[in-house]
């Protein structure tokens, strides 16, 4: 085991395997994410990208290997899972805002009930993050009244309100109309460049990857096939599967 790495790595996946029934969805995944590192994960549909990042906050269970997040090893222990989820924010492809709550209530719910923040403080913090994602004026609307891009920005703000150290993004722009993609990406770039947030983002937005990623990971058929810095990854891919994949997505 690489003991020098341990000190500054915030997420470690060691020989992780997962099956859905007989289907081997994650195969021997090894991944070390350093504090404040920004990683973009790409790969063909069904390759296990979502499954991998969802294992990190235990939305999915893995069957073999270890996942260590911020020093805590993930087990069935509900308390530990809770601790980890507090530190790990997640943004979904389908936004998953709570439709019966206003934007502001969406943002304050978890701080109030998980972090026990007083209402007023939680609302002030929420407004700060809503300003950061550039929609403070929508605070009292319901999610259904917003456009897709606005909803996704609310979802980002909702996660940030918990002050997570790690943010997971699962294809945050692929459910959006083309003209809304950039408003969400802008917010994400700003988030990436402004702080020391550790970010894992599944996306096929290669411009975003080049701009903010320290490392790009390519997955196929449940394996990590290749990883490299963006420059080399895009200009000089090694594996045939990577080359094929890049050719396919760059054609569009």
């Amino acid at each position: 085991m690489n003991t020098e790495m341990q000190g500054d790595s915030i997420i470690r996946l060691v020989n992780v395997n997962k099956w859905y029934g007989k289907f081997h969805v994650l195969r021997n995944i090894n991944l070390d994410v350093k504090r404040s590192e920004r990683i973009v994960i790409c790969g063909p549909s069904g390759s296990g990208k979502s499954t991998m990042i969802r294992c990190i906050n235990r939305l999915e269970e893995h069957q073999q290997g270890d996942i260590i997040v911020d020093g805590t090893t993930l087990t069935d222990d509900v308390k530990k899972i809770g601790e980890i989820r507090r530190e790990v924010g997640m943004v979904f492809q389908q936004f998953n805002l709570f439709p019966h709550l206003t934007v502001l209530e969406n943002c304050t719910l978890a701080p109030i009930w998980v972090r026990k923040t007083p209402l007023k403080e939680a609302e002030e913090a929420a407004m700060k993050y809503l300003e950061r994602v550039k929609i403070p004026e929508q605070a009292n609307k319901y999610p259904g009244q917003l456009s897709g891009g606005q909803q996704q920005r609310v979802a980002i703000a909702r996660s940030l309100c918990m002050n997570p150290r790690i943010m997971l993004f699962d294809e945050p722009t692929s459910a959006l109309d083309p003209e809304m993609i950039s408003e969400v990406l802008d917010v994400m770039v700003e988030l990436a460049e402004s702080g020391d947030m550790t970010i894992l983002c599944v996306t096929h937005e290669m411009g975003f990857a080049r701009k903010v990623a320290h490392r790009v990971i390519f997955m196929d058929a449940g394996e990590i096939v290749e990883e490299n810095n963006p420059e080399d990854f895009f200009n000089n891919p090694q594996a045939d599967r990577t080359k094929l994949f890049l050719k396919q997505i760059l054609q569009h």
């Binding site: 939305l59 998953n96 019966h100 999610p143």
Partner: protein
């Protein structure tokens, strides 16, 4: 020039196209000879039955009279509503002692007070009102049965008439919702023991007619309970009716949970919210909203099923009415009595169904507004 052509067009179009209602009538009622015959026959039937009914019930009906004989003297072939107007109080209070009837009245007024904060969402002091709603069943139980804090006890054997319907209906409705939610959660639980208990319970209750449960309540329970225990029959009936309604409610609520998009569960979990907090703040508000039609449907079913208690000797309005018929003064007025009881149930159930429709529309409007 333009005028004349327009006029011509109008003349050329057949009447069935110019006036939509005429077109509809023609197409649907008189398109073929057989259709015409059937239409005319139906009209004749409606006229015949409708007119005879109006004639019997209203034109020749007698509203006030103190016996059947008195009615017949006034109008030999009309309805005799005396059985209702003269004995209205017994339909309402049944055998509840005269001198204590104010307690029934007070309970009823308090019921309206207790319902207000539930039905009226923007009521001032709604939170405090809801506290009263929660306390209401205990207050009403004490008022009606007495025996505590200086209130004379009234034997629950005397609970009858509309007040019995209300006691059973309100108890069943207000308890079956929370118990149904609990059962639905148990059935979805990851703990096998809890899940199995819930499944067995729900499937058993749903597989047995309510009448059977009521018989169990009236007869069988006595065998299980230690001899000498006098477990109030009304309470036993309330328990059975509530369990019955809860099992159905559980399935309605479970359907609501299944209709909630998976992303809602994932988002709640990813934020680190505990199961109970998510339930309270995220799942239940949405699930209950989705399930309103099913919930109200169960309520209406339960309310109507309360008439079944007649079988184990409790006197609901129907039972009261039948006992009136065996009184020589009123014998032979079955039609009037049944119509009146039917009307009573219809009005209550129709009100519930209208309210649910109103709620659905309101939520739809809200959702539509949210989507704009």
């Amino acid at each position: 020039m333009a005028d004349t052509t327009a006029h011509k067009d109008e003349e050329q179009a057949p009447i069935t196209e110019r006036i939509p209602a005429v077109g509809w009538v023609w197409k649907n009622l008189f398109s073929t000879p057989l259709n015409t015959v059937l239409t005319l026959f139906s009209l004749w039937l409606i006229w015949k039955v409708g007119f005879s009914f109006v004639d019997w019930a209203f034109l020749k009906g007698v509203l006030f009279a103190d016996s059947r004989v008195a009615c017949r003297e006034i109008s030999p072939h009309g309805a005799c509503w005396g059985i209702i107007s003269e004995r209205f109080d017994i339909f309402v209070y049944g055998r509840y002692p005269h001198e204590h009837r104010w307690r029934v009245n007070l309970s009823f007024i308090l019921l309206i007070v207790a319902l207000a904060p539930v039905l009226w969402e923007t009521m001032p002091f709604r939170k405090r009102g809801l506290l009263f709603t929660v306390a209401y069943p205990f207050i009403a139980g004490w008022l009606l049965a007495g025996g505590l804090f200086g209130l004379d006890p009234v034997n629950t054997r005397n609970f009858s008439g509309f007040m019995l319907t209300l006691v059973i209906g309100v108890t069943g409705i207000s308890l079956s919702l929370p118990i149904g939610v609990a059962l639905a959660l148990a059935r979805r639980s990851s703990m096998p023991v809890l899940r199995i208990i819930a499944v067995v319970f729900i499937e058993f209750i749903r597989g047995v007619p309510l009448i059977t449960l009521l018989f169990i309540a009236s007869v069988l329970l006595a065998y299980f309970l230690p001899p000498g225990t006098d477990f109030d029959l009304i309470i036993r009936v309330l328990i059975m009716v509530t369990l019955f309604a809860s099992a159905y409610m559980a399935e309605v609520i479970r359907g609501g949970f299944q209709a909630l998009p998976r992303g809602q569960y994932e988002a709640a979990e990813a934020l680190g919210l505990s199961y109970w907090k998510s339930l309270q703040k995220i799942y239940l508000p949405q699930v209950l909203r989705i399930s309103i039609p099913g919930i109200v449907n169960s309520f209406i079913g339960l309310y109507k099923d309360t008439t079944l208690v007649i079988i184990i000797g409790l006197l609901d309005p129907l039972g009261i009415g039948r006992s009136l018929l065996s009184d020589a003064k009123w014998a032979g007025l079955a039609a009037e009595m049944y119509l009146f009881v039917a009307l009573f149930y219809f009005i209550s159930c129709f009100a519930m169904s209208r309210y649910s429709l109103y709620l659905e529309r309101k939520l739809e409007r809200e959702q539509a507004a949210e989507q704009n």
